[in-house]
Assembly symmetry: C2
Homo-oligomer: 187 residues x 2
DNA sequence: GTCTATAGCTAGATAGAC
DNA sequence: GTCTATCTAGCTATAGAC
């Protein structure tokens, strides 16, 4: 077994970066090769199904990150519910680099008919809502209220990312996260 | 002057449809030709700068539609402020076909470095906020409150479109529009 | 496991007949 | 103004040496 020239994790970071800024169709293997430091043929060795498999790997990579850094923070019973919420929101800030980064799922979903991604996005959003509903209930909202707030949180995070990018104004994202926090913690 | 086989407006409708569902990079001239009923070379006769000019034309076409169907409805002083707001929101419903359609600006902006679109999106969002701030002031909010609600409206419309598509659930979009209406008309 | 070289194809774009 | 035919560049993907 010849050693890997580039670590799996570093490859995923490079792939993520390119897909995130160019989208799926807008990304070429040339760019992916340059970003990872491997040649095209070497990328095919790691990902035999090519570009699609690379995108899927990015999907899984980000999904895992969200699980470990956002959902687990929300669930961590070693902290008070208030701190759990704040840690979860901090995870969101890091995921999107304070609004500077686009949602990778959105970047990858804008493409002709790969239903795999559609299904993953659907279940990802469903879990997102479930997790935020849970922390809402812990924070003494009724289940109905908590579910509404969870959906609203998802809508506002996604919407604020678009408006932040469109208006080139980071404060839109940060203000939205503050509003979300206040909605959960105040009253 | 030989007569046009396809009317300008019908071409724009076809181009819009394809760009909207595939994005800029994901759209091929073959698809654009099929959707418009013209051959590729004929499309180049109408749009000498090719694909980019076609996308720009779609941009202008949608911008005009928004002006005429949303912003003018908000400004129309022949109606009460309440009716003007409702007509504007109905324009939004039609623009996105009740949540079934993606935001065309978003579909076109996911591409490598065409700054023209960035600038148009920026000014489009700025005007959107100005128009909704104006109707908010007419509805007796303070300028500060009105500006906040206008920004929030843009965020929620964009976010709800993404969540609606991601979860394949039209009611997300409709409920968001109802919430927006209530925020302006109630209290 | 990584590389050079290249196959096979489709993209965007043009030439020129009608 | 629209068409058929074609060019060239770039794409995804593979073969085979090391």
């Amino acid at each position: 077994m010849r050693p890997q020239k580039v670590l799996d994790n570093d490859i995923l970071i490079g792939l993520t970066k390119v897909f995130r800024s160019n989208g799926y169709e807008g990304t070429s293997l040339k760019e992916l090769a340059e970003a990872t430091g491997l040649k095209k043929a070497s990328l095919y060795h790691r990902f035999p199904n090519g570009k699609q498999e690379m995108a899927e790997a990015v999907f899984t990579y980000i999904n895992t990150w969200v699980q470990e850094n956002i959902f687990q923070a929300l669930q961590n019973e070693q902290h008070t519910p208030e701190v759990r919420l704040q840690n979860g929101l901090d995870g969101i800030r890091r995921l999107y680099d304070n609004g500077k980064e686009v949602c990778i799922f959105r970047a990858l979903s804008m493409q002709t008919g790969l239903e795999l991604f559609e299904q993953q996005i659907n279940s990802g959003m469903t879990q997102w809502i479930a997790e935020f509903t849970e922390i809402g209930i812990v924070l003494d909202f009724t289940p109905t209220e908590a579910a509404q707030h969870a959906l609203q949180t998802l809508i506002e995070v996604q919407g604020s990312l678009i408006v932040t990018k469109g208006m080139d104004n980071i404060s839109v994202f940060e203000n939205t996260l503050k509003n979300i926090e206040n909605r959960y913690l105040n009253t």
